[in-house]
């Protein structure tokens, strides 16, 4: 709460700058229109007209909020114009990709910790895989999954999400599973514990804080993956597709609103994961 005042003033400053930018960037068009219609625009008219354009260069904050409001509450949630519908399409792919990313990340980490050969073969390629810009691969993933006989866009988007989100989980889990102190490992050895027992009773519990810490990064990455996955693949549903359509059909307000819908979705997901992380940390005794 100590940070509330500074954060609020920064947000307020951003809003002020945004309004000024909207006025500044949209004014040229208004003046141009006024000159053509051969009428004079006073300052007051200039302000109202820059704030209410249908196709603004910079949409003013209240316009974005109104477009969002209309998109969320103005249509039935099953309608193709509703952001709830498009948000759900993106969220579904995000969550599937997130789940898939966790399974792949944890699975690989478990194998890597137990086999030196896998560690040395796979780990460098996992790092390289993240330096490859995923957007280049996205159309190929769609083509391949169509060829295998998967209909729809959900699976390719989820694969793209998983490609981005498995890496943070993998890296954290590898360090988490290696976190137990040699002393603790030695103790279990003196108890005559098998490798499975060491895994379940020592390695896995001590890796959980690392796991939950990585989830926040992973969920943000999988939402980016889902949105990026909608761009080059000719999708028509989803927030990313909505942005593309808004940009191609000259409806900037839809574009802005879709961007902020994605932002709100990201914020909500990060908050939820943060709550889960804190609850888990408290139960594990990491923080009190």
């Amino acid at each position: 709460m100590r940070n509330a005042l500074p954060v609020l003033s920064v947000v307020a400053a951003i809003l002020v700058i945004w309004y000024l930018a909207a006025f500044w960037m949209n004014a040229a068009w208004v003046r141009d229109q006024a000159a053509r219609a051969d009428r004079h625009t006073g300052f007051a008219e200039l302000v109202t007209e820059t704030m209410t354009q249908d196709r603004p260069v910079v949409a003013a904050p209240h316009q974005v909020v109104m477009a969002l409001w209309k998109g969320v509450f103005g249509h039935k949630i099953t309608s193709k114009r509703s952001f709830v519908y498009h948000g759900w399409v993106t969220l579904e792919a995000t969550l599937w990709g997130f789940a898939l990313g966790i399974v792949i990340g944890v699975g690989l980490a478990v194998i890597i910790v137990h086999s030196r050969a896998v560690d040395m073969s796979v780990m460098p390629w996992a790092v390289i895989s993240q330096t490859v810009p995923i957007v280049a691969l996205a159309p190929m993933i769609v083509v391949l999954s169509n060829a295998v006989g998967i209909e729809g866009r959900l699976v390719p988007k989820a694969i793209i999400s998983a490609y981005l989100s498995f890496f943070p989980v993998l890296v954290s889990m590898v360090s988490g599973l290696r976190a137990p102190h040699p002393m603790q490992l030695d103790l279990l050895k003196t108890y005559g514990a098998s490798r499975t027992q060491v895994f379940w009773k020592l390695r896995l519990p001590s890796s959980l804080p690392y796991f939950f810490a990585s989830l926040k990064v992973a969920i943000a990455a999988s939402l980016i993956g889902a949105i990026v996955g909608e761009l080059p693949t000719g999708a028509i549903d989803g927030l990313g597709a909505r942005m593309l359509i808004g940009s191609q059909f000259g409806q900037p307000l839809i574009m802005w609103a879709a961007l902020f819908a994605a932002t709100i979705l990201a914020g909500a997901l990060i908050l939820v994961v943060g709550v889960i992380q804190r609850a888990a940390d408290r139960r594990m005794g990491v923080t009190r």
């Binding site: 159309p139 190929m140 980016i224 949105i227």
Partner: protein, 280 residues
């Protein structure tokens, strides 16, 4: 079918070799094992695609991709210059430079730091690629809009990392600088910026991938008739899948080289940091 069986046999043989190499603990194994693994994957891809007679419209063989790559070097180079050098690199330099300067300014005011850090952390996690259509609308189709998207994408991760880095020097070290009567500028240049370098390079490394993603994504929203994103989307439409894969190879090489380059500079600059010292 024989080719598929051959692929499986090669896989098992290479895996056996890798297990032996990994156990031997030879110093060269660190490089040889991943190379063998990668080559095996390529050979299996080639053999399985040939063995199952997969259509080249779905998945071309690595040799076909290599042939296409060699045949269209000129086009690929033009795309590389347009997307990577003009779009990604210029945006990367501007975004990271602006973020470091902004961090130094913010760092002087505790109020701003407390206000901007939570906001910056939050914004760094958002899908900023979404600003691509807006930037294309503002700056037109050429590389300027790509660079603007890249700036927007790398700015906040870089800012957050730099601000964290500027706090990395500990109180004792700062007190020492005070006893030397060092000015703010001297403390910044001689103590705090060097101490921040590991954090700054962490941000720079994260930003390399973001920069390439931003530059390519922005091309899907409009571009001149060149660039990697443009070539990928048009080649998919023409079913020239081998061309798409050739672009993916370029993207992968550029991304890895970019990341590797930053890592190499990091090694030279932060040689003193524990994570960079040679492991014995």
């Amino acid at each position: 079918m024989t080719l598929v069986v051959l692929a499986i046999v090669i896989w098992l043989a290479a895996w056996y070799a890798n297990v032996r190499l990994a156990r031997s603990g030879a110093p060269a194994a660190r490089y040889v094992v991943p190379i063998i693994f990668g080559l095996t994957l390529l050979v299996m891809w080639e053999l399985i695609v040939r063995g199952l007679a997969v259509s080249p419209v779905i998945l071309p063989t690595p040799t076909a991709i290599a042939a296409r790559f060699a045949a269209s070097l000129g086009t690929l180079w033009v795309d590389f210059v347009q997307t990577v050098l003009k779009g990604a690199l210029s945006g990367y330099a501007m975004g990271c430079g602006a973020a470091v300067l902004a961090a130094i300014v913010i760092d002087r005011s505790p109020f701003l730091t407390r206000g901007l850090l939570p906001v910056g952390n939050f914004v760094a996690a958002l899908p900023i690629v979404g600003v691509a259509p807006i930037m294309v609308m503002w700056f037109g189709f050429d590389w300027q809009s790509k660079a603007a998207v890249v700036v927007a994408m790398v700015f906040f991760p870089m800012l957050v990392n730099t601000v964290a880095g500027l706090k990395a020097s500990d109180a004792m070290q700062r007190d020492l600088m005070r006893t030397y009567a060092a000015s703010y500028g001297q403390t910044l240049l001689k103590l705090r910026l060097p101490a921040a370098m590991p954090f700054i390079f962490n941000g720079l490394k994260i930003a390399t991938t973001l920069a390439l993603i931003g530059a390519i994504v922005a091309e899907f929203f409009g571009s001149p008739t060149m660039g990697m994103g443009f070539r990928i989307s048009t080649s998919v439409g023409q079913l020239a899948i081998d061309m798409v894969w050739a672009e993916i190879v370029v993207a992968a090489l550029a991304g890895s080289a970019f990341y590797g380059g930053v890592t190499a500079i990091e090694k030279a600059v932060t040689f003193w940091h524990p994570s960079q010292r040679r492991r014995i």
